[in-house]
C-alpha cells in the first residue's frame, strides 16, 4: 500500500492530524497498534480543556495549549462533540499556596491567559460544596471540559469521510528510509517504507509520528536524535450522575511540594471525575489501578470536597501520560536528519487541549514539505457519522425518530438510556465499533452506574448480529475482536391503550402481583409496562429452586414462580406490554400522573393514569462500586450477568472462576458454573460471615467443596485482554488487606456478588422522597410514596431476601393504588 502521508497512532493527536491532512490534496492512512481509536492516553485522562496558565511560558506546551483552547468551540461544533467552558479554579489552602497562585497568574499573563484571584467568600458563593479550608482561588474562565474519546472518534470519522484509511491492529515495527541522506524531494517517490509487526508494508511520502507512549520508539527507528518516554500513570475515580452540579467549575489544587494535587471536576456527561495520581511506571501498558493509588485519590479529593461520597463511585480506572524525559516539552516537527518525518513526541497534558492546534500545525508542515495545496472547500465533507442521542432529544423529536427507525425506541443500556439504534449506528460508522469497549466509548452504553451489568448480554448479541460473529466471541476481550461483515434487524413488539386507573412499571413478580391485586380490588384500567422482551423479571434467569415456600407451600424454580403470576395476570386480562421502557413519571397539577414510555413499535407514548405502582426491581453493585484494584480486562462480571449469560443465552463466560462476595446470587452461580463444567476456585468474602443464606452456603459451596474464604478480599486483578488471575488477601478488622497474606489464583473469570441496590432513577425523577438507608423510596404501611398516587413494591423499595415477601408487599401496593384510583374517580 502506498499513500502520501501516514499517521502512526489513532489517539486524539493522530486523528486530529489525519483529519487536518485530509484538508489538503493528499492521500492519508492511519496505522494504529490497538484495535480502535483512542486506545491509549486519549481514553483515560482528566478530560479537561486547560486554560493555559500553568505551562512554562515559551514552551510548545504553553503555545499549543493556548492555541488549542481557543479552537475548541469551533472544532467541537464542527465535529458535533459536547464541550463546555465551565471555567477552572485552582484552590489555595493557606499563605504558601496563595503565593503560588500569584505566580500562576503571572505565568498566565505571559501566556496570554486571563485569570483572576478570588476571595474565600467569593469562592464559597460560587462553589458551596468546596472545602472551608480553601482560602482563595485562581479563576480561569477559559478552562473547559470535553469528552476525549468522543473528540477522537469524531475526528477519525471526519478524516475517514474525507478519504483517510484506518488500519487497526497494525503496530509499526520497522521504518526504512529509501534515500539515505539529504533532501529527497523529487528523488524518491515514496521514501519511507513502514513494516508492521505482522509483515505488511506501507509506503509513504511523509510520516507523522503520533504514537503517544510509543512515540519515542517510532522516532528512534528513524532519527539519530533519540528520545525517551516514561509512562506516567494516573489513577481516577468516576462518580455517579447524582453528583452532577456539585461543582460547576473544574477544581484544581495548588501545585506544591506535595505534588500537583488531585482535581475534582464535572464531566460533559454529567458524572464527576476525581484524580489523578502521578506515578512513573516501567511498563507502558500497565494500566492497573492500585489500592494505594485509589487511597491517594480519595484523600486528595477530600481536601477539595470533604463530602466526597464514596458510595457514588461507579468506576475506577487509570490512564497513561507520555512523559518525555530528555526535553520535557512537546516535541513537534521534523528532526534534522529525517526530512518529511514529523514528530508529535511527549504529548502529555495539556495534550487534549493542544490536539486541535497540533493537528493544524503538523498537517500544514506536511503539506508544505510535499508541496501540496488545500482542497477546495466544496470538496471537503463535514460528515462525522453523527447519530441522534435519544436521551438528549425532545419527546416529539424522539417520537418521530422511533417511527422512522423503531430500533431507536429500544433501550439497551438502562443507566445511560442508550438505544439499540445508537449502538447499531456506532457499529456501522466509518470507523465503527468492533468491541464492547468500542461501543461503550462511542455511545456510553455500559458506562453508567451498573457498568454493563444489564446491557452486556444485549450488546454482544447486537455486535454478533451486525458483524456476523458468535456473540460470545466479544467476551474474550473488551478491546480486541475479529473483523467480519453482516447485518440484520429484528422486529419489535407491542401496542397499547391510554386511560388508566393503575399503571404498573415492571412485570417481575412485584409488578405482576401489584397489577393482579389492583385488578382484583376494582381497578378497571390496569396496565403493566415491561422493558424486557418477556414478563417475569429477574426470576426468568433464576432457574434454581427454593421460591414460593410461604406463598404456594411448595418449592418452585424462578421461572415456575413467575409463570404463576403471568398466568394470573392473563386470567385477569391485564395487558402486559413488553419491550417498553418508561422514561419519565411526572405528577400533574390535576392529580393525574403522566407516564412517558418508549418502545420500538409504539414509539414514544404518553399515558395518563390515576395511580402508578413502581416495581422496577434492583441492580447489582458493579466492580467500580467495590473499588477493586488491578487491570480492567474482559472476564469480570456481576453474578447476575453471568446468570443471564448461562441460563438464558446459553453462553459460558469462563472455565476457572473466582467469586468475590458471598451474596446469594454468587453462591447460586458457584453451583451453576460447577454444573456447567467450570471449576470454581474460591468464594471470597470480605466480611466475617457470608452475606448469603446459610442454606446456599451448604448446598452451593459445601456440597461441591468450594472454599469460602471469610475476611478475605481480591486485592489485584491481572490480565491485559482477559483476566489471567487474581490475588486474594486476608483483611484486618478495618477491612484493610494484610500484607503477606496474598494467595494467587490462575483464573479466567471473576464474578462479583457484592449486593444489590434498588433501581430508582424514575423514582428520583418523579421527585419522590428517598430513604437513604434502603436507597429506595420512603413508603408508608400502604406502600405509598411521598407523591400522592405513586406506590412502590418489591426490590425497588428495599432489597428483599425472599420473593414471597416481594409479592406480598407489592399486593399491598396494588390494592392501595386501586383504592386511590377509585377515590379519585368518585
Amino acid at each position: 500500500m502506498n499513500v502520501d502521508a501516514i499517521v502512526i497512532g489513532a489517539g486524539v493527536v493522530g486523528c486530529a492530524v489525519a483529519r487536518e491532512l485530509t484538508r489538503y490534496n493528499l492521500s492519508v492512512a492511519v496505522l494504529e497498534a490497538g484495535s480502535d481509536v483512542a486506545e491509549g492516553a486519549s481514553k483515560a485522562n482528566s478530560a479537561i480543556v486547560h486554560a493555559g496558565f500553568d505551562a512554562k511560558p515559551g514552551t510548545n506546551k504553553a503555545k499549543f495549549n493556548v492555541l488549542g483552547n481557543r479552537m475548541f468551540e469551533d472544532v467541537c461544533r464542527e465535529l458535533k462533540v459536547p464541550f463546555r467552558r465551565n471555567g477552572s479554579l485552582v484552590l489555595a489552602f493557606g499563605a504558601d499556596d496563595e503565593a503560588t497562585l500569584r505566580e500562576l497568574q503571572a505565568r498566565g499573563e505571559q501566556n496570554g491567559v486571563r485569570t483572576e484571584i478570588i476571595s474565600q467568600e467569593e469562592l464559597r458563593r460560587r462553589e458551596p460544596n468546596v472545602s472551608p479550608e480553601a482560602t482563595s482561588a485562581l479563576w480561569a474562565p477559559t478552562g473547559g471540559i470535553c469528552c476525549p474519546y468522543e473528540l477522537t472518534f469524531r475526528y477519525a470519522e471526519n478524516a475517514a469521510a474525507n478519504g483517510a484509511e484506518f488500519y487497526f491492529d497494525t503496530r509499526v515495527a520497522a521504518i526504512r528510509r529509501e534515500v539515505p541522506k539529504g533532501d529527497f524531494v523529487g528523488d524518491a517517490p515514496f521514501p519511507y517504507r513502514l513494516t508492521s509487526e505482522d509483515g505488511r508494508e506501507f509506503l509513504a511520502k511523509a510520516v507523522v509520528n503520533c504514537a503517544g507512549l510509543h512515540s519515542d520508539e517510532i522516532n528512534n527507528l528513524v532519527s539519530g536524535t533519540k528520545y525517551s518516554i516514561r509512562a506516567r500513570r494516573g489513577e481516577y475515580l468516576m462518580l455517579d450522575r447524582d453528583e452532577d452540579g456539585t461543582f460547576s467549575a473544574t477544581m484544581f489544587q495548588c501545585p506544591s511540594k506535595m505534588g500537583k494535587g488531585i482535581l475534582v471536576s464535572p464531566t460533559v456527561d454529567g458524572t464527576m471525575i476525581v484524580g489523578p495520581t502521578a506515578e512513573d511506571v516501567d511498563d507502558k501498558e500497565d494500566k492497573a489501578t492500585t489500592y494505594d493509588g485509589l487511597e491517594k485519590v480519595k484523600a486528595g479529593a477530600r481536601r477539595t470536597y470533604p463530602g466526597l461520597p464514596l458510595g457514588k463511585v461507579i468506576a475506577e480506572f487509570s490512564g497513561m501520560r507520555a512523559h518525555e524525559t530528555t526535553v520535557g516539552d512537546f516535541i513537534l516537527g521534523e528532526p534534522c536528519d529525517a526530512p518529511a518525518f514529523f514528530n508529535a513526541v511527549g504529548v502529555e497534558s495539556p495534550g487534549l487541549t493542544s490536539a486541535p492546534a497540533i493537528g493544524v500545525f503538523l498537517a500544514g508542515r506536511v503539506a508544505e514539505r510535499l508541496g501540496v495545496s488545500r482542497k477546495n472547500p466544496s470538496q471537503i465533507s463535514r460528515d462525522v457519522s453523527w447519530w441522534p442521542k435519544t436521551r438528549e432529544m425532545k419527546p416529539e423529536e424522539l417520537a418521530e425518530l422511533v417511527e422512522r427507525d423503531p430500533s431507536f425506541g429500544r433501550v439497551v443500556c438502562r443507566c445511560e438510556e442508550v438505544t439499540e439504534g445508537e449502538i447499531r449506528a456506532a457499529i456501522r460508522a466509518r470507523v465503527g465499533a468492533r468491541t464492547l469497549d468500542g461501543i461503550k466509548r462511542r455511545t456510553r452504553s455500559g458506562m453508567g452506574r451498573c457498568q454493563g451489568g444489564f446491557c452486556t448480554p444485549r450488546l454482544i448479541e447486537i455486535l454478533g448480529a451486525e458483524l456476523g460473529l458468535p456473540p460470545e466471541s466479544f467476551l474474550l476481550s473488551r478491546k480486541t475482536a475479529p473483523k467480519a461483515l453482516a447485518s440484520s434487524a429484528r422486529p419489535g413488539a407491542a401496542d397499547i391503550e391510554t386511560t388508566l386507573d393503575v399503571l404498573v412499571v415492571g412485570a417481575g413478580p412485584a409488578g405482576l402481583a401489584a397489577a393482579c391485586a389492583a385488578k382484583e380490588n376494582g381497578a378497571d384500567g390496569v396496565l403493566v409496562l415491561e422493558r424486557d422482551d418477556a414478563p417475569g423479571g429477574i426470576l426468568q434467569q433464576c432457574i434454581h429452586n427454593g421460591f414460593g415456600l410461604h406463598r404456594f407451600k411448595e418449592e418452585l424454580t424462578g421461572p415456575e414462580y413467575a409463570q404463576r403470576f403471568i398466568d394470573k395476570a392473563a386470567e385477569l386480562k391485564i395487558p402486559v406490554v413488553c419491550g417498553t421502557m418508561v422514561l419519565d413519571i411526572a405528577p400533574q397539577p390535576d392529580g393525574d400522573i403522566k407516564v412517558t414510555a418508549m418502545s420500538p413499535r409504539g414509539g414514544l407514548k404518553i399515558y395518563r393514569t390515576r395511580s402508578t405502582v413502581l416495581a422496577m426491581g434492583c441492580r447489582e453493585r458493579p466492580r467500580g462500586a467495590l473499588m477493586t484494584p488491578g487491570t480492567r480486562p474482559a472476564g469480570v462480571y456481576t453474578a447476575g450477568t453471568v446468570q443471564r449469560l448461562v441460563n438464558m443465552d446459553g453462553i459460558m463466560p469462563g472455565r476457572r472462576v473466582v467469586i468475590l462476595g458471598s451474596g446469594d446470587i454468587g453462591l447460586i452461580m458457584a453451583r451453576r458454573l460447577t454444573f456447567s463444567g467450570a471449576k470454581v476456585l474460591a468464594c471470597v468474602e470480605i466480611m466475617k460471615k457470608s452475606s448469603g443464606l446459610m442454606r446456599n452456603v451448604v448446598q452451593c459451596l459445601n456440597d461441591y467443596d468450594i472454599p469460602l474464604l471469610l475476611s478475605h478480599t481480591v486485592t489485584d486483578v491481572e490480565g491485559r485482554e482477559h483476566v489471567t488471575g487474581v490475588k486474594v488477601a486476608k483483611v484486618d478488622d478495618h477491612l484493610k488487606p494484610i500484607p503477606g497474606t496474598e494467595i494467587h489464583y490462575d483464573c479466567d473469570t471473576l464474578v462479583l456478588s457484592c449486593g444489590l441496590i434498588p433501581e430508582n432513577e424514575l423514582t428520583k425523577k418523579a421527585g419522590i422522597e428517598m430513604d437513604p438507608s434502603t436507597r429506595g423510596p420512603k413508603v408508608d404501611a400502604n406502600m405509598a410514596t411521598s407523591v400522592p398516587g405513586i406506590f412502590a413494591g418489591g426490590n425497588v423499595v428495599r432489597v428483599y431476601d425472599l420473593v414471597d415477601w416481594v409479592s406480598r408487599d407489592s399486593e399491598i401496593a396494588g390494592r392501595a393504588a386501586a383504592e386511590y384510583a377509585k377515590g379519585r374517580k368518585a
Binding site: I543, T557, Q563, N647, M648, G650, L693, R695, V698
Partner: protein, 114 residues
C-alpha cells in the same frame, strides 16, 4: 453430626445423632421438615437438581428440574444425562424431559414454557 438445614431460608443449625438402636434423633430444628431433612441427610442425603438442556435450533436453553430430590451421589449422573439431552419445542411447565433420570426413579421436568 452437626448440620445446617437447607429446607428454608432460616437455616436451622441442627444436631443429628444415630442412636444405638439404629434410630435417628434430630435436635435444633424448628419444624418437622427439619427433622425429616436431618434423618435423610444422615442416611441418604438427597438434593433437588435444577439444570439446563439444549433446545433444538436455539441458543437459549430450557430450564429443568428433577421432580423430587435425587441422591446426592447421583447428581453427576443426572447432569450428564441432561447434557446428553436436546428437546424439541414447544414445551410446557411440567412436561417430562427425561424419564427416570440416571435410574433414580425420578423424572426431569420442564420449568418454563417455551
Amino acid at each position: 453430626m452437626k448440620m445446617i438445614c437447607i429446607n428454608c431460608p432460616k437455616g436451622c443449625e441442627m444436631d443429628v445423632v444415630r442412636n444405638a438402636d439404629g434410630s435417628v434423633t434430630v435436635s435444633g430444628n424448628s419444624c418437622p421438615r427439619g427433622e425429616a431433612y436431618g434423618k435423610s441427610e444422615l442416611i441418604n442425603p438427597t438434593r433437588m437438581v435444577t439444570g439446563l438442556v439444549r433446545v433444538a435450533g436455539m441458543r437459549k436453553p430450557l430450564p429443568v428440574k428433577t421432580r423430587t430430590p435425587v441422591p446426592k451421589a447421583k447428581i453427576d449422573d443426572v447432569l450428564f444425562a441432561l447434557h446428553q439431552t436436546t428437546v424439541q419445542l414447544p414445551v410446557k411447565i411440567g412436561d417430562v424431559i427425561v424419564a427416570d433420570v440416571a435410574a433414580t426413579g425420578v423424572d426431569v421436568v420442564a420449568t418454563a414454557n417455551m
